[in-house]
């Protein structure tokens, strides 16, 4: 699995010949500002699922930031989930973001695949709590849960910055602390305002003013209204309702999800073809990147760049794939 974390594009090689890929029934992205309680909420959701469905396996991918200076990382999400360490049906994998923008490390997709293969029913992906660039988690998760907490100035701003659109569920955590009610109220208000904005947008469209058939706002909104929960995760308060909320969403949406997962698969195939092509090209060009004196022909004007590219493409396609 470390290999896949490091070389996500090469996932297909490991399973060469496999045609059946079991996938998790539900993939939940858990995101939100640093310290809002994402790991704690996840820990308690694991506990809730394990209690409700004792036979089902749960996976967690916990992403923490890499240091931009040294590349190293301290991955601390697991601290909150250690009580599950000896549960054979809970598989937790920590990953460093490795500078990948968007809060989701590239390798997370591969690890998600493996969690499907080992039979995980539900997988939680906790992403780096940076807020802004995290919309990426929406691309791999069936549902995105945004965790907020009072006393964090950036909460509302974070919502403005795009999490509002990707959130399917919102959890106002730390309900035991002052300010939680206010945050809850503000959140409901901004969500309904947002909803109103979409209304206008759709209205404009039906009046013939809209141009894009499938504008981003509208396509995101097809998911329907987000749910808003209150929780005091430390005390397991509200977790029951959150899991009910997740499961209720599964029922209504699984067809739509299947479509998106198929799209993701196409993307994965494309990425893996490109990666393989790149590798073979490097091989064809050799160490000095010049493919013998062939490139000299281009320099001397004996062959056009396009001809050369065509020839390299053909040679690359013929060359053997080289499994390391």
């Amino acid at each position: 699995m470390t290999f896949i974390g490091d070389h996500p594009q090469r996932l297909p090689e490991l399973f060469e010949g496999m045609t059946h890929w079991p996938q998790a029934r539900l993939v939940v992205g858990v995101t939100g500002a640093p310290g809002s309680g994402k790991s704690t909420v996840t820990d308690h959701m694991i506990a809730e699922y394990r209690q409700r469905f004792p036979q089902r396996r749960i996976g967690v991918i916990a992403v923490d930031p890499s240091s931009p200076f040294t590349g190293g990382a301290v991955l601390g999400d697991r601290v909150r989930m250690m009580r599950h360490a000896t549960d054979p049906l809970v598989f937790i994998r920590s990953l460093a973001s490795r500078g990948h923008l968007g809060g989701l490390t590239l390798g997370a997709k591969g690890v998600l695949r493996i969690m499907g293969l080992i039979g995980c029913d539900v997988v939680f992906i906790e992403t780096v709590g940076v807020g802004q660039s995290e919309v990426e988690v929406a691309g791999v998760a069936d549902l995105v849960m945004v965790v907020l907490a009072p006393g964090q100035g950036d909460s509302v701003q974070m919502l403005k910055a795009g999490l509002m659109e990707i959130g399917d569920l919102f959890v106002v955590n730390k309900a035991d602390l002052p300010g939680a009610q206010t945050l809850h109220r503000n959140l409901l208000q901004s969500l309904s305002l947002d909803q109103g904005a979409e209304h206008d947008c759709q209205h404009a469209k039906s009046a013939g003013a809209g141009t894009a058939e499938d504008g981003p706002l509208i396509s995101l909104r097809k998911k329907g209204l987000p749910d808003v929960f209150m929780a005091a995760a430390n005390d397991h308060v509200g977790i029951d309702e959150i899991v009910d909320g997740l499961e209720a969403k599964v029922e209504g949406h699984s067809d739509q999800w299947r479509q998106r997962r198929e799209d993701m698969l196409v993307d994965e195939i494309r990425e893996s073809v490109l990666e393989e092509a790149r590798r073979r090209l490097d091989q064809t060009l050799g160490n000095n990147g010049r493919a013998g004196d062939r490139l000299g022909q281009v320099l001397r004007g004996e062959m056009s760049v396009a001809q050369m590219a065509q020839e390299l493409l053909e040679r690359t396609a013929e060359s053997k794939r080289n499994l390391k």
Binding site: H7, S66, T70, G72, A73, A85
Partner: protein, 137 residues
């Protein structure tokens, strides 16, 4: 196999005392040296630590200990690793451990023991050597 990947190291704190300053300090030293460190918190059982290390596919486990039960706890971790077929995971230790116990621990299979006052440089260099790869290039 994961030659480009930086070695992953799990830091665990078995035993009953609740002081993890030393463990966190080492975690940050290692991060600054380019390692990916999985920190697992205080009062963990050897079982929890070993299970987590196997799931996280780490190259090494660092055990931080103050409570005095180091001989038993270290041995238990090594035994569990063997049981799990994960003896390739290197185990090192740190904390308040009497000098006289260190040879015994090494004989048992603990690669190195860092007592308070060991410099960050020594810790990093020792681990880089033991793990056979330079981190953070």
């Amino acid at each position: 196999m994961a030659s480009e990947g930086k070695p992953r190291i799990l830091i665990g704190k078995p035993g009953l005392d609740g002081h993890d300053r030393g463990a966190k300090y080492v975690a940050h030293i290692l991060r600054d040296a380019g390692f990916e460190v999985i920190y697992t918190g205080i009062r963990r059982t050897p079982e929890q630590i070993v299970e987590a290390a196997v799931q996280e596919d780490v190259a090494a486990i660092g055990l931080s200990l103050l409570s005095g039960a180091h001989n038993e706890l270290f041995k238990r971790v090594l035994d569990l690793l063997k049981e799990k077929g994960a003896s390739d995971i290197v185990v090192f230790g740190g904390g308040v451990i009497p000098e006289k116990d260190i040879p015994g621990l090494k004989a048992m299979g603990i690669v190195e023991v860092f007592t308070p006052g060991t410099s960050a440089k020594t810790i990093v260099e020792t681990l880089e050597r033991v793990l056979g790869s330079k981190a953070g290039q």
